[in-house]
């Protein structure tokens, strides 16, 4: 898998686009701040959310059984999948049993994680993503670049061109209102034709056996209320103990995500309609592993609001695709290596440790601390690139020899300022990429101290 720095370098080559992307995300982050400031008890809410999620993770097996018991009593059929393959087989099996060939799906990062779409397509099933952003990237045969705004990296001119080719909109049209209307007409047809609806799950409630799906477009509701078969796919960490806990999470989710007071639709599903079937697939896929880790357990608190990526200075400037992970940004950089440390070894370094992600996280995940911990873990696992290992070794050797440290410093101060640019700004010096090195002072701190204080 290409490393994060390599893919990020591609993205930042286009300075204008990188700046535009940064601004678009910052706009969302600012809306989040305004929304949070309107709730006086915001910090109290975050604290409760964090406590509820920690309780859930510490009682997960019991709560999962409680959920299954209560859901089953309501006529919901519960399935368990250890990994993506099992998950996809279960979903396909259900569709096959009902002779379904056309499915509409509302946004679910879990099905992205499992690569459900290509799997079903290989088996001759048409699966249409119905969230507008997801539909746009699906038309491009690309994954989402953001978990809440899947097409945030695209310009309206590009979407206009895509719609012109695939939906027959006017060439050169870029008006969002016009393009959304075209998508509405196109997707309405898909809703009407579909024989089954797949949704993700934002929260599942152990106490009641129900679950909640949040959308702004109403696509999950259209996809499920028109059909006799509803399959909901969820990660086992999406559970909460009580229905009343939703009061905390629904207050935090949309405000953290987009700055809205709540999503337009927060739908509570408690059993199938008469004559219909409702299935829920519980997926582990590495989550139980994380729950066993004292360092990374809190990453399971995540409610996928994307506040951490909207605020992240690295995500905003490098784009979602540079992470090559279903979930990008700070939380993705924790979850990615947990699943496959080798393939995702560069992600915990795509971070300036500024801590902004930790500040905005509605469930108080200590994101930047976990990213730092990941760096240590990756070193222990021997997964650091040679360049990092070598430079750290040299640095450690120099730091342990004070005389050497002073000598190297002196040499640098007297030589570096006179070096021609090409010797400083080249591919060997990562610090000189896209920025000027700081001006080197004429004397060291030790020298300054000696001169100004030692003899006074």
């Amino acid at each position: 898998m290409p490393s994060h720095p390599k893919l990020a370098a591609e993205f930042v080559k286009n300075k204008e686009r990188a700046h535009w992307h940064d601004q678009a995300l910052w706009f969302v982050r600012s809306k989040r701040d305004k929304a949070a400031q309107q709730i006086p008890e915001w910090e109290l809410l975050r604290e409760q959310a964090s406590k509820i999620k920690s309780y859930t993770v510490s009682h997960l097996p019991d709560l999962l059984e409680e959920f299954e018991r209560n859901a089953t009593a309501r006529g919901v059929q519960v399935h368990w999948a250890r990994n993506a393959t099992e998950h996809n087989e279960i979903v396909h099996g259900l569709l096959k049993k009902h002779n379904v060939t056309r499915v509409v799906k509302s946004k679910s990062m879990l099905t992205e994680e499992c690569h459900l779409n290509p799997y079903l397509e290989r088996h001759g099933i048409e699966i249409i993503d119905t969230d507008l952003g997801e539909r746009i990237v699906q038309m491009q045969h690309m994954p989402p670049s953001h978990i809440v705004m899947p097409a945030i990296h695209m310009k309206k001119e590009e979407i206009g061109e895509l719609f012109h080719e695939q939906l027959g909109t006017e060439k050169g049209a870029t008006d969002p209102q016009y393009l959304t209307e075209a998508a509405r007409q196109h997707l309405r047809q898909k809703f009407i034709e579909a024989e089954a609806g797949i949704t993700g799950v934002n929260f599942a409630i152990a106490e009641t056996g129900g679950f909640v799906v949040c959308t702004n477009e109403g696509n999950a509701d259209l996809g499920t209320s028109l059909n006799k078969l509803h399959i909901a796919c969820m990660g086992i960490e999406k559970l909460i103990p009580r229905a009343g806990d939703l009061s905390v999470f629904l207050r935090l989710l949309a405000r953290s995500a987009t700055g809205q007071p709540i999503t337009t639709y927060s739908s509570h599903f408690h059993g199938p309609a008469p004559g219909a079937e409702m299935h829920i697939v519980l997926l582990d896929n590495g989550r139980s592993e994380i729950s066993g880790s004292d360092e990374f357990r809190r990453s399971l608190n995540c409610i996928r609001c994307a506040a951490c990526m909207n605020t992240c200075p690295v995500y905003r400037r490098s784009g979602g695709y540079s992470y090559s992970n279903t979930v990008p940004g700070p939380i993705g950089s924790i979850l990615g290596p947990a699943k496959d440390p080798k393939a995702n070894s560069t992600l915990p370094f795509a971070c300036s440790l500024c801590g902004s992600c930790t500040d905005v996280c509605p469930v108080k995940i200590d994101l930047h601390h976990q990213l730092l911990t990941w760096r240590k873990e990756l070193r222990v696992k021997g997964l650091l690139p040679f360049s990092k290992r070598l430079s750290m070794k040299m640095m450690s050797w120099m730091m342990q020899a004070p005389g050497m440290y002073r000598f190297v410093g002196k040499m640098a101060r007297s030589i570096v300022p006179y070096l021609p640019r090409f010797m400083l700004y080249n591919r060997l010096n990562d610090w000189g990429k896209q920025r000027e090195l700081p001006i080197i002072p004429k004397q060291s701190f030790r020298e300054w101290m000696k001169q100004n204080h030692d003899d006074k």
Partner: protein, 205 residues
């Protein structure tokens, strides 16, 4: 798939995760801090407007009819459904529909909402599972009738009103369907209703 279930559960049980406490959200020390408004109805109307909806306080169903007749979306509607007796002039009868697809061409639906939430402009609607559930999402325009006395301050009060004893469906609906997936430009009317009007009705209906 029982082997998968057993494997997942036994893996989770084999780990020593420190047990933590669940907060009591209804305790006085917490509940006394949840936001309250001097005038919840005003707050509700303001937030609903900010998310693209409209709130109209009225005295009774006759007033609703009057206000509806002034609405261009209602005047232009060819197919109208109503779940409120005496409200609107429906020409499609809900009880006769067994397949929700038959609601495909509904232009305007007048439907009941249980209560509203001041902090976020949401209205709780519920449905036992009949085809009428689709109307909330498939109709081009939606008007909800909510008892004026049923506005709570916040989501904590909302959940105290909710019970999930029966099978069924319910949703918090806050404004019309919308999207901002094209360059963050807000567009009202993505898949669901293009407009949402909430009538807060004083007299019972």
């Amino acid at each position: 798939m029982t082997t998968s279930k057993n494997e997942i559960l036994s893996k989770l049980r084999s780990q020593s995760v420190p047990k933590t406490e669940l907060p009591d959200l209804q305790s006085i020390e917490l509940s006394s801090q949840w936001v309250r408004y001097e005038n919840p109805t005003e707050q509700f109307a303001e937030i609903l407007a900010s998310v693209g909806g409209q709130c109209i306080p009225v005295k009774n169903v006759d007033d609703v009819n009057q206000r509806l007749s002034e609405l261009p979306a209602y005047q232009e509607a060819k197919n109208v459904c109503s779940q409120i007796a005496g409200c609107g002039q429906p020409n499609v009868s809900i009880p006769e529909i067994t397949d929700p697809h038959d609601f495909e061409n509904i232009d305007f639906a007048i439907l009941p909402g249980k209560f509203g939430v001041a902090e976020n402009g949401a209205v709780w609607i519920s449905n036992a599972g009949g085809p009428a559930r689709t109307l909330y999402f498939l109709s081009q325009h939606v008007a909800l009738l909510v008892p004026a006395s049923e506005i709570v301050n916040n989501m904590h009060q909302a959940y105290q009103k909710l019970e999930f004893a029966e099978n069924g469906f319910g949703t918090f609906m806050s404004g019309p369907s919308k999207t901002a997936d094209i360059e963050q430009s807000l567009v009202i009317g993505a898949h669901g209703a293009r407009s949402l009007i909430v009538f807060l009705v004083e007299e019972s209906f």
